[in-house]
C-alpha cells in the first residue's frame, strides 16, 4: 500500500530507533503525551513501546472522541431512537459503548433500528431512501470529522431533506489539551500532536503550547516511522532546550489547515458555552452545536431531549486514565469487571481508548501469566 508500507520499513525503523537511543539522555526520564487516540492505537498495534528505550514514557491523552463522551449523551441519543419511526445511525465505534440501559448494539438486539454507517453522507442516503422514517445521525469526532458532518448538513439543507437530523457531539481538541496542561497532576515534557485533526485546523492552534507552556509539540503521522521520527524531533528540541511547533506529517498536514473545511464548520456549527467531558468535567467553549440556521436538522431541537446526566460507576477511574494520570492497568476495574466483553467505560470499548488498546495488545505479554477468561 503506497504511503503506508514505506512508513513501516524495518531498516528505516531501525535507524529511527537507533537515533532515539542516541538522543535520549540516560539520566533523564521523558514523559511524552500523544494526544490523539489514533496514535495510542498505533503505538500498541505496532508494538512501538518495545522499540523505545525504557526512559521514554508515552502517556495517553484524551483524544478519543468516544471515550470523552459522557454516558448521558449516549442515553439521550438512544432515547430518541426508541421511537418506531426513527433510524439511529452511527459509526461502528459507537456500537458497543455502554449506556445506562445498554449499548446501541444491545438496543438493536432488542428490536430498535440501529445502523452502522461509514460516513455521514451514508446516513443522509438512508434518509433519502427511507422517506417515511426519520434518520438521526449520532455524530462524534473532533475537528477531523466535524467538517464532514457540516458538509452533509449543508447538502441536506440544499436538497430540502426533512427526515434527517444530527445529534451533535463534536468536540474540539485545544480545550482538551489545555485541560491536561492545567491539571496539577500532569508533568509532561512534550506532545506528539494530533495528525488528522491538524489537516483541518493546521499547526498554528498549537503555538501557545510551545510559547506559553514551554513544551515542544510535533504534529505526527500514524505509521511507525512517523511516530518514531516525531519522537526524534521532540528529543532534538528537548536537548537543545527549544520549544516549538513542528510538522512531521508534512505530506498531509498543511500548516494553515484546510480553509474549505473550516468554512463549512463555521457555516453550520457554533461553540457551545460549555460541554461536559467524561473525566475532564465541564469545559467551556469546547464542543459544537448546530447554528440557528440549521435548527431544523438539530436532533436536540427537533426532539425532546432529556439532557440526562449519568455519572460513571464510582469505582471506574475513566477520568484519571483519560487524563493520563493513571495507566489503564491501575484502574481498580481493569481486566476484572471491565473488559472489552463487558466494558464499564468507553475507554474499554473504543478502539482508540487506552484501556482497550492496552487490554487487546499488551496486558498479557508478561511472561508466566496464565490468564483465564472469566465469564461475565
Amino acid at each position: 500500500m503506497k504511503f503506508v508500507d514505506e512508513f513501516r520499513d524495518s531498516d528505516l525503523i531501525g535507524r529511527a530507533r537507533d537515533e532515539i537511543r542516541r538522543l535520549a539522555d540516560p539520566a533523564r526520564h521523558y514523559r511524552l503525551m500523544e494526544v490523539c487516540g489514533g496514535h495510542t492505537h498505533a503505538i500498541y498495534r505496532f508494538g512501538l513501546k518495545d522499540v523505545l528505550p525504557s526512559n521514554i514514557e508515552l502517556i495517553h491523552g484524551p483524544g478519543c472522541p468516544v471515550c470523552v463522551l459522557p454516558m448521558g449523551r449516549i442515553d439521550d441519543g438512544l432515547e430518541l431512537a426508541r421511537r418506531p419511526d426513527v433510524i439511529f445511525a452511527a459509526f461502528g465505534d459507537m456500537m458497543r459503548v455502554p449506556g445506562a440501559h445498554g449499548s446501541p448494539l444491545e438496543h438493536k438486539a432488542r428490536g430498535m433500528d440501529v445502523r452502522i454507517v461509514y460516513s455521514p453522507t451514508d446516513a443522509l442516503k438512508l434518509a433519502r431512501s427511507n422517506p417515511g422514517r426519520h434518520v438521526m445521525f449520532f455524530a462524534i469526532g473532533f475537528e477531523t470529522t466535524a467538517p464532514s458532518t457540516a458538509l452533509t448538513l449543508m447538502r441536506a439543507k440544499a436538497e430540502g431533506i426533512e427526515n434527517f437530523s444530527v445529534f451533535c457531539n463534536h468536540v474540539t481538541i485545544i480545550p482538551a489539551i489545555r485541560a491536561i496542561l492545567d491539571s496539577p497532576d500532569m508533568r509532561l515534557d512534550g506532545f506528539i500532536g494530533p495528525g488528522h485533526v491538524s489537516t483541518v485546523i493546521g499547526c498554528r492552534p498549537y503555538e501557545w503550547i510551545a510559547r506559553t507552556e514551554g513544551k515542544p509539540i510535533v504534529v505526527s503521522g500514524f505509521e511507525p516511522l512517523d511516530l518514531l521520527q516525531s519522537i526524534v524531533m521532540l528529543l532534538r528540541q528537548l536537548r537543545a532546550r527549544r520549544a516549538g511547533v513542528e510538522n512531521q506529517y508534512q505530506r498531509v498536514v498543511p500548516w494553515e489547515g484546510n480553509r474549505a473545511a473550516l468554512a463549512a464548520m463555521a457555516e453550520v456549527f457554533e461553540l457551545r458555552p460549555y460541554f461536559e467531558w467524561r473525566g475532564l468535567g465541564f469545559i467551556s467553549q469546547s464542543a459544537l452545536r448546530l447554528r440557528e440556521a440549521y435548527a431544523r436538522w438539530d436532533a436536540e431541537r427537533v426532539f425532546d431531549v432529556a439532557g440526562v446526566r449519568v455519572t460513571d460507576p464510582k469505582a471506574a477511574q475513566c477520568g484519571e486514565v483519560l487524563k493520563g494520570v493513571l495507566k489503564p492497568a491501575q484502574c481498580k476495574l481493569f481486566g476484572k469487571e471491565c473488559t472489552p466483553e463487558h466494558p464499564v467505560g468507553a475507554l474499554m470499548v473504543s478502539s482508540e481508548g487506552s484501556c482497550a488498546a492496552y487490554y487487546n495488545y499488551e496486558h498479557r505479554k508478561t511472561a508466566g501469566q496464565l490468564r483465564i477468561l472469566t465469564p461475565a
Binding site: S10, R17, F91, H363, A367, Q369, L370
Partner: protein, 334 residues
C-alpha cells in the same frame, strides 16, 4: 446477538452450557471431544461426526452462496478433525414465501459443492416457518467421516517448537460478505474462498504423520480466535510473524479503510495446522503440491511463554497481543 460471531461468546456458550448439560462420561466417544465434532464408536468402528448451521446475508455472494457454505463448512470440520468426509444429512429451515427458485438454486449449489468435495448427501429435511420467524433460509448440515489412519489430534499434543501452518490468504470470505451487503459502498474484486480443504489436509497428514498435532478451520472469529482457543487449550504461547501472514491486497485495503484486523475476519476455505518442527517443511511442501495449496505458509511457532496468549511480532521488534474477537468485527472511523 454476539454469540453468533465466533470468538469468546460462542465458545462460552458451547463449553459452559451445551457441554455440561448434554455430554456424559459414559458416552461412546473416542479421544478428546471438540466443540462441535467427535469420534463415535459404532460397532467397534470409529466414525467422525460433526454438525453446524449456516446463516448468511446475503444468501448469494461473489464466490458462492449459503448452499456451498453449508456443504464445505461441515466437510472442512470433518477434515480438520482428521477424517475423510463421507456423507452429509441436512435440514433446511425456510421462511414462508421464499421463492422456489431461491430454494432450487441453493439445493443445486449444495449438490455441486458436494460433488467437488466428493461427499454424498444422503438425507435431508425441510421445515417451513411463518414469515418473519426466520431470515429467508437457514441450513444445518451434519457430516459423517472416516478417521484418517495414524492421525491423532489434540491441543494437548502440541509442544513448544511446533510450527503453525496456514493454507492460504485470510479474510476473503468475511470481507466479500461485508461488501456484498452493500451498506458500506465499497467495491472490490473479491470472492468468498469457500471450498473443501480436505485434499490439502490429506496431503499434510500423509507427509507429516504423527508430527501433525492439531488443526482448525478459522471460520467465524478468524485466525485470531482459532489460535487463541489453541493457546487456551494447550496453555502455551503462540508467536506469529506479522509479515508471514498472507492477505490479499483488496482484503488489506478494505480492512485498512474500515479499521478491521484481517486476523478477525471469517474464512471458509482455509485451515490452520500445528506441525512438529521436523515435519513442518515436508508437510508444507506436500500441501503446496496440491492444486489450491500453493499459497500455504508457516506463520509462526509455539513457545512456552506467554501462557495461553497469542502474540504477533514485526521485523523491527514490536510485538502485540492478538486477542479473540468480541462480538462482530465492526468498522470504525477512529
Amino acid at each position: 446477538m454476539a454469540h453468533g460471531a465466533g470468538g469468546k461468546a460462542s465458545r462460552r456458550l458451547v463449553d459452559g452450557l451445551l457441554a455440561p448439560l448434554l455430554y456424559r462420561q459414559s458416552d461412546p466417544v473416542e479421544g478428546d471431544r471438540l466443540a462441535d465434532a467427535a469420534r463415535v464408536l459404532v460397532g467397534g468402528a470409529s466414525v467422525a461426526i460433526t454438525t453446524d448451521s449456516f446463516v448468511v446475508t446475503p444468501l448469494a455472494f461473489p464466490g458462492g452462496s449459503i448452499g456451498e457454505l453449508a456443504v464445505n463448512g461441515t466437510v472442512n470440520d470433518l477434515a480438520v478433525g482428521g477424517a475423510r468426509p463421507v456423507a452429509l444429512v441436512t435440514t433446511l429451515v425456510l421462511e414462508a414465501g421464499l421463492p422456489t427458485e431461491t430454494l432450487v438454486a441453493e439445493l443445486r449449489a449444495m449438490r455441486r459443492a458436494a460433488g467437488v468435495a466428493g461427499v454424498a448427501i444422503v438425507g435431508g429435511d425441510t421445515k417451513v416457518v411463518e414469515h418473519g420467524k426466520v431470515d429467508r433460509l437457514y441450513i444445518s448440515t451434519t457430516g459423517l467421516g472416516h478417521p484418517l489412519p495414524g492421525v491423532t489430534l489434540g491441543a494437548r499434543s502440541v509442544r513448544p517448537g511446533d510450527r503453525i501452518l496456514l493454507s492460504g490468504p485470510i479474510g476473503d470470505h468475511g470481507i466479500t460478505i461485508l461488501l456484498a451487503r452493500g451498506e458500506l459502498d465499497l467495491e472490490a474484486d473479491l470472492r468468498s474462498d469457500t471450498r473443501s480443504v480436505f485434499p490439502l489436509v490429506e496431503a499434510l497428514a500423509a507427509a507429516a504423520g504423527p508430527g501433525l498435532r492439531w488443526m482448525r478451520d478459522p471460520t467465524r472469529g478468524g485466525v485470531a480466535t482459532s489460535l487463541n482457543e489453541l493457546a487456551l487449550d494447550s496453555s502455551l504461547g503462540i508467536h506469529l510473524s506479522e509479515e508471514a501472514i498472507p492477505v490479499r491486497d483488496e482484503v488489506r485495503g478494505a480492512c485498512e479503510l474500515l479499521g478491521l484486523d484481517p486476523l478477525h475476519i471469517a474464512n471458509e476455505g482455509q485451515f490452520l495446522a500445528v506441525v512438529a518442527a521436523e515435519a513442518a517443511e515436508r508437510g508444507l511442501e506436500a500441501i503446496r503440491r496440491v492444486p489450491g495449496g500453493e499459497a500455504a505458509v508457516v506463520i509462526g511457532e509455539v513457545r512456552e511463554e506467554p501462557q495461553a496468549a497469542v502474540l504477533a511480532g514485526s521485523r523491527y521488534g514490536g510485538t502485540r497481543i492478538v486477542d479473540m474477537l468480541v462480538g462482530d468485527p465492526l468498522p470504525r472511523i477512529c
